[in-house]
């Protein structure tokens, strides 16, 4: 396997590592800031008290039961979706690949709604398996639908296939919700993609899947980078391309599926963050994936808390992300459409 580290000038590598450390160091203060944002004023120092000696006061309950799980969910969901998007863009060599656009989020969300409507399961630890199943099936369908015909899976065909499947799943999900107003009222927040109302228990149940997925993704960063050079190059340098593509797909399913089980279908994180990371560190997917995790966590955290802080309304983060992300998508489509046929 080619060792890029040996070729790259050492100073550039150091600068990338320094940037990564800075980004990771930025996460804790932003997370603490997010804990202070909300309708009731809570002094920044209070969180320490609340963690060490919870006394059951209103402030401590708000911090521990509402803001802490919300903050943790934001960090997890952001990092997971961003890394999932980076993996997809690397493996498909496709600038538009991301869990939201290719129907994976919609598939996971549909499977969860299906489980809630027709079974008595409501523990997140069991629902997440439905999310995995839905994400896997939807991703497989979109890839199959998008790679039919000459030229294989081009960005344009994949994006259209994703839009087709999302339209289908959304309409079936809407049918389910229309037939049952109780479910509609419970689920409309979650279906828009939201961090509201997660309990610490839910976060704790789903975090292991997400953290394991992130760890595996970073451990597999090197083979994934090799995949990003194209199937021909990867097999020339001795990689088992089929096995690593399947493993990468599995990682995407775990990362995106558990993120959807936690926060509903949040779009555009997986599209925008890897592009931002690429602007910072260039085309090496090991660095893109490493940067994507803290960048995605920060983006979702700031999008969620920032809107509350700026305008004072509690907007579901899925909507904020779509409003922020769709202009970026349109700009990408305008700039790079020449290579997407």
């Amino acid at each position: 396997m080619p060792n890029l580290d040996a070729i790259l000038p050492g100073r550039r590598r150091n600068r990338r590592a320094l940037g990564l450390v800075l980004l990771i160091a930025l996460v804790p203060p932003m997370a603490l800031w997010a804990l202070t944002v909300g309708s009731s004023q809570i002094a920044p120092g209070m969180w320490f008290d609340a963690l060490m000696h919870p006394d059951g006061s209103r402030e401590h309950i708000v911090l521990l039961d509402i803001r802490l799980p919300r903050m943790l969910a934001g960090l997890l969901v952001g990092a997971q979706l961003a890394v999932a998007g980076a993996i997809m863009q690397a493996v498909t060599a496709n600038p538009l690949a991301s869990p939201g656009l290719l129907g994976i989020n919609a598939g996971a969300a549909f499977a969860v709604v299906l489980a809630l409507a027709f079974t008595s399961i409501d523990a997140s630890g069991s629902l997440v398996w439905f999310a995995f199943g839905g994400a896997g099936v939807a991703g497989g369908c979109v890839y199959a639908l998008g790679s039919i015909g000459r030229g294989g899976a081009t960005p344009l065909k994949l994006a259209l296939a994703g839009a087709v499947l999302t339209a289908f799943l959304t309409s079936v999900t809407t049918s389910l919700l229309l037939l049952d107003q109780g479910t509609l009222d419970n689920l409309r927040l979650w279906a828009a993609g939201s961090l509201m109302g997660r309990s610490l228990a839910t976060v704790a149940e789903l975090a292991p899947y997400g953290l394991a997925g992130l760890a595996c993704a970073l451990a597999a960063a090197r083979p994934i980078m090799t995949l990003s050079l194209g199937g021909d190059v990867a097999s020339t340098v001795g990689q088992n391309v089929v096995r690593w593509r399947l493993l990468a797909g599995l990682l995407v399913v775990v990362l995106a599926g558990s993120a959807v089980a936690l926060a509903g279908p949040v779009g555009f994180v997986g599209l925008v963050v890897p592009h931002a990371a690429r602007m910072l560190v260039g085309a090496d997917y090991r660095w893109i994936m490493a940067y994507s995790a803290p960048l995605g966590a920060l983006l979702v955290l700031v999008a969620d808390a920032g809107i509350r802080w700026l305008v004072g309304i509690d907007l579901p983060v899925g909507i904020t992300m779509a409003l922020l992300g769709s202009p970026v998508f349109i700009a990408l489509a305008r700039r790079r459409s020449g290579m997407m046929r």
Partner: protein, 317 residues
């Protein structure tokens, strides 16, 4: 007369007849004849409920079929259709704004709001895809982006709206023909019939736009002007049908695809797509009445497997 066209027309007539007689109150063929002779009960059921509903379903289906045929010719892509390109979601946003934002009864304004939303979305797509001219790929991708943005604003409204308003808006947004009446049908006809006629007159230009941009220009097609005019017609047709029946997806995608084999000339393809669209939506409405779901939720369920099949059969094109 093309034999395929005649067969499609016959199928549409059969679907219409079935649709007229089927329902909570079954009407045998002799009841329909009795209604025509002046039997009051049968006449009320037919005249105020069934006939406008069936006519609306057929006309909306025809509009969608033709709008899809235009989109697929202009974008040169079999998966392109107004529903996937943000035009329908623009219309949904218009209606959601009206239903959730405005106080009181606004039912009669809903079609207008849907139409305005579709027009704004189509204009935005065209303007944003413009970069020293348009290209079909940019139009499709920008359309998907606009669809996501308008969809986000719509869900923003559904999250904060009153649950009863939200359910009313969602029912319309699911696409349904259940509350059709003669007035709405009249408006639909006023908007769509001229547009259908103009599109048919442009059939030759649609034939030419199947070639590459360079070839079309060399053959003397004023390409950008033509594209703008065709997209305007498509918006008119899609907007009028969304206004009448809510956003109904996949009819515009399937109808032109199903009749592609009939002829390579749009002079035949357009009427065939119209008939096929009418058949699809008429059928979906009929089935939807039986299983108590809006037609717009059934068309994707029929549509997606068909899309897979069509793509598979055309994989070597």
């Amino acid at each position: 007369m093309n034999r395929g066209l005649a067969l499609l027309a016959l199928l549409v007539v059969i679907a219409a007849a079935l649709s007229l007689s089927w329902g909570d109150n079954g009407l045998a063929p002799q009841d329909i004849v009795a209604a025509l002779r002046g039997d009051p009960i049968a006449a009320i059921i037919l005249g105020t409920v069934r006939a406008p509903r069936v006519a609306t379903a057929l006309l909306v289906g025809a509009c969608l079929g033709v709008a899809g045929a235009i989109t697929q010719a202009v974008m040169r892509n079999p998966l392109a259709e107004p529903g996937l390109l943000g035009i329908n979601s623009g219309a949904s946003l218009g209606v959601a704004l009206l239903v959730i934002g405005a106080e009181g009864a606004v039912g009669h304004l809903m079609p207008l709001a849907g139409f305005a939303g579709a027009a704004v979305a189509a204009t935005a797509i065209y303007v944003l895809a413009w970069r020293g001219g348009t290209s079909s790929i940019r139009l499709i991708l920008v359309g998907i982006g606009i669809g996501a943005a308008t969809g986000a604003v719509t869900s923003l409204l559904t999250v904060f709206g009153d649950i009863r308003d939200v359910q009313r808006a969602l029912a319309w947004m699911a696409g349904s023909i259940y509350n059709a009446d003669w007035t709405k049908l009249g408006w639909l006809a006023v908007w769509s019939l001229p547009a259908l006629a103009i599109t048919w007159c442009l059939a030759r230009d649609l034939d030419l736009s199947a070639f590459d941009d360079d070839v079309s220009c060399a053959l003397g097609l004023p390409l950008q002007a033509m594209r703008a005019a065709l997209i305007a017609l498509c918006t008119l047709l899609a907007g009028a049908s969304v206004a009448a029946a809510g956003p109904i997806s996949f009819v515009g995608l399937l109808a032109p695809q199903l009749v592609r084999g009939l002829s390579s000339r749009h002079a035949v393809r357009l009427p065939a797509a119209a008939l096929c669209g009418a058949l699809l939506l008429g059928g979906a409405d009929l089935v939807g009445r039986l299983v108590q779901l809006p037609a717009g939720l059934l068309t994707p369920v029929i549509g997606v497997p068909f899309v897979g099949l069509l793509l598979w059969r055309r994989r070597n094109d």
